[in-house]
Amino acid sequence: MNTLVRSATAGLRLPLSQPHLGSALLLLAALLAPALIYPVFLMKFLCLALFACAFNLMLGFVGMLSFGHAAFLSTGGYVTGYLMINSGITPELGVLAGTAASALLGFLFGKLSVKREGIYFAMVTLALSQLVFFFYLQAPFTGGENGMQGIPRGHLFGLIDLSDNLAMYYFVLAVFLIGFGIIFRTIHSPFGQILTAIRENEPRAVSLGYNVRQYKLLAFVISAALAGMAGATKALVFELESLTDAHWHMSGEVVLMTLLGGMGTVFGPVVGAAILVAIATLFSGGELGNYIHIIMGFIFVTCVLAFRRGVVGEFGHFMHKNFPASGFGRPQ
């Protein structure tokens, strides 16, 4: 019975006539981007975009608003960081370990929270993530307020040195594409169709015989795992994991990225992440840094009042209305 994203689903999907052309152009742009833009900025964007896509799998496609996704981002980062510092494993295994740890945490969160719906679900996830925050604040291995510093990027497969920013960029791009691919496949699988059915009308899905809680739980675990993968990669990029990633502000930021880009659309969270990372970079440092939360608040209010489809959703809606033949915004 969740009408949250029903109106926002008329999202951007590549025209069916030339899906491969569009994808190829985007991929080419991603491969060439570091020649034009500072790689660390791009890597931060890709990590947060993956984080937002993972979050959107739950909000946009099942209608579950988690206010605790910072817990998964930070768990991925801390576990990967700890292993990279202390065990000397290779980065791809480190990221996998961080992803697995977040999946496990997502399973625990999900077990506790999928019983509750809507607003309660949001409050339960927020409270659980605050529990995780206090754990990381006090646990000896996280470095508390100072953060976990000096995480080595290591050698990919033991061969390629990732301390070079360009090599690291292509590693991050590969991780992003894998994560994005998993989400894309999930959404367009029979499993994803059932998730959408639950979002549209939960009692109907129950009466059709689906075990709705199991489906929600699995969606939660996939979302948490990919959020952890984003956090693990982000920790390698910055060679640092800090409490900022575990704070509820981060949970709010990922909601904003998804809302701004267009929840329930495949590319919306990517666009939302790009806009927010750009704003954060623009305002970082100096006096303007103080304004960032005020601006985020205004974007939130504006989006909810007047812009609920988000950038990508509005674009898809516009194209669908004016150029139905273009194939944009075809209802699912």
């Binding site: 969740n2 506790l112 927020l126 529990l131 103080n290 939130f300 209010v301 909810v304 609920r308």
Partner: protein
């Protein structure tokens, strides 16, 4: 005779008192959330920011206008309530037909703006508000020393909570409110002006947060972030108590404050997390909450 069974009675009672004071704030904030939820079916994420606003308005009133504590105690909740009514009219009402999650996100945005603005104007270091002369000092109760102001907080909170509970459960006005919770259309059909009632209810719920802010100003430092972390704890308390009853919100708020105080004495490392752990236990064994009615 200060220790019984290895327990330092004075330290324990001291922590219990601190717990009761925290519980008083939890109860006031949870009560406000419960009242608003009852009629509007939304969770006001800005409740913590409005609590902070109440404390700041009291502090600003004293600094700029020489407004004393007693006037602030009356005027500030009214001002915060008026801001709440304005918020309900201009922001929340236009999205009344939408999914309730949108109103959660909207009030979250309002909270970010308020906190960001006060952080910008006053910095992150706290301001201090003097305890009013009449409430300075304390009483020796024989077994412990009770600072007068702390007793005052508990007294005001209990009186306000009980009066609110009595009004809602026992009076005609409360009957309208409960009817509006059950079926607003039908109540409107009986000639009650439901939109005005919704505005006033929202204003009252938010005003409780403002009152809590004024009460908190002399004991906690007044800073932009004072409401944010408190609100997450209150959310956990709301989940523990469930949204079924007004009395449930008050009792759970006070009880969780006391449990937190006990934890501070017996195992201080867990004092910041104990309420969340209680929430986990409640979710495992009674998912609807202790006083909850919804499934």
């Amino acid at each position: 005779m200060t220790t019984i069974l290895g327990i330092n009675v004075f330290a324990l009672l001291g922590q219990l008192l601190v717990g009761l004071i925290n519980g008083s704030f939890y109860a006031l904030l949870a009560l406000g959330l419960a009242i608003i939820f009852g009629l509007l079916r939304i969770i006001n994420f800005a409740q913590g920011a409005l609590y902070m606003l109440g404390a700041f308005l009291a502090w600003l009133g004293l600094q700029q206008l020489g407004l004393n504590y007693w006037l602030a105690l009356v005027l500030v909740p009214l001002a915060v309530g008026a801001i709440g009514i304005l918020m309900e009219r201009t922001l929340i009402r236009p999205i009344a037909g939408q999914d309730h999650l949108y109103s959660l996100l909207l009030t979250f945005g309002v909270a970010l703006i308020l906190q960001g603005a006060f952080n910008h104007w006053f910095g992150s270091s706290g301001q201090s508000y003097p305890i009013p002369d009449a409430l300075k000092g304390g009483n020796n109760l024989g077994f412990m020393y009770l600072p007068t102001y702390r007793g005052w907080i508990i007294l005001v909170s209990l009186v306000v909570c009980l009066a609110t509970w009595w009004t809602i459960e026992k009076t005609r006005l409360g009957a309208y409110l409960r009817a509006g919770t059950e079926n607003p259309q039908l109540l409107q059909g009986f000639g009650v002006n439901v939109p005005v009632m919704i505005s006033l209810t929202f204003g009252f719920g938010v005003g409780l947060a403002g009152l809590a802010g004024v009460l908190a100003a002399p004991v906690y430092s007044v800073s932009a972030d004072m409401g944010a972390n408190l609100l997450i704890v209150v959310f956990a308390i709301v989940v523990i108590g469930g949204m079924g009853s007004i009395g449930g919100a008050i009792l759970t708020g006070l009880a969780m404050g006391v449990i937190e105080g006990l934890t501070k004495y017996f195992y201080p490392q867990a004092s910041s997390t104990v309420i969340f752990m209680v929430m986990v236990l409640v979710l495992l064994f009674k998912p609807a909450g202790l006083f909850g009615k919804e499934a």
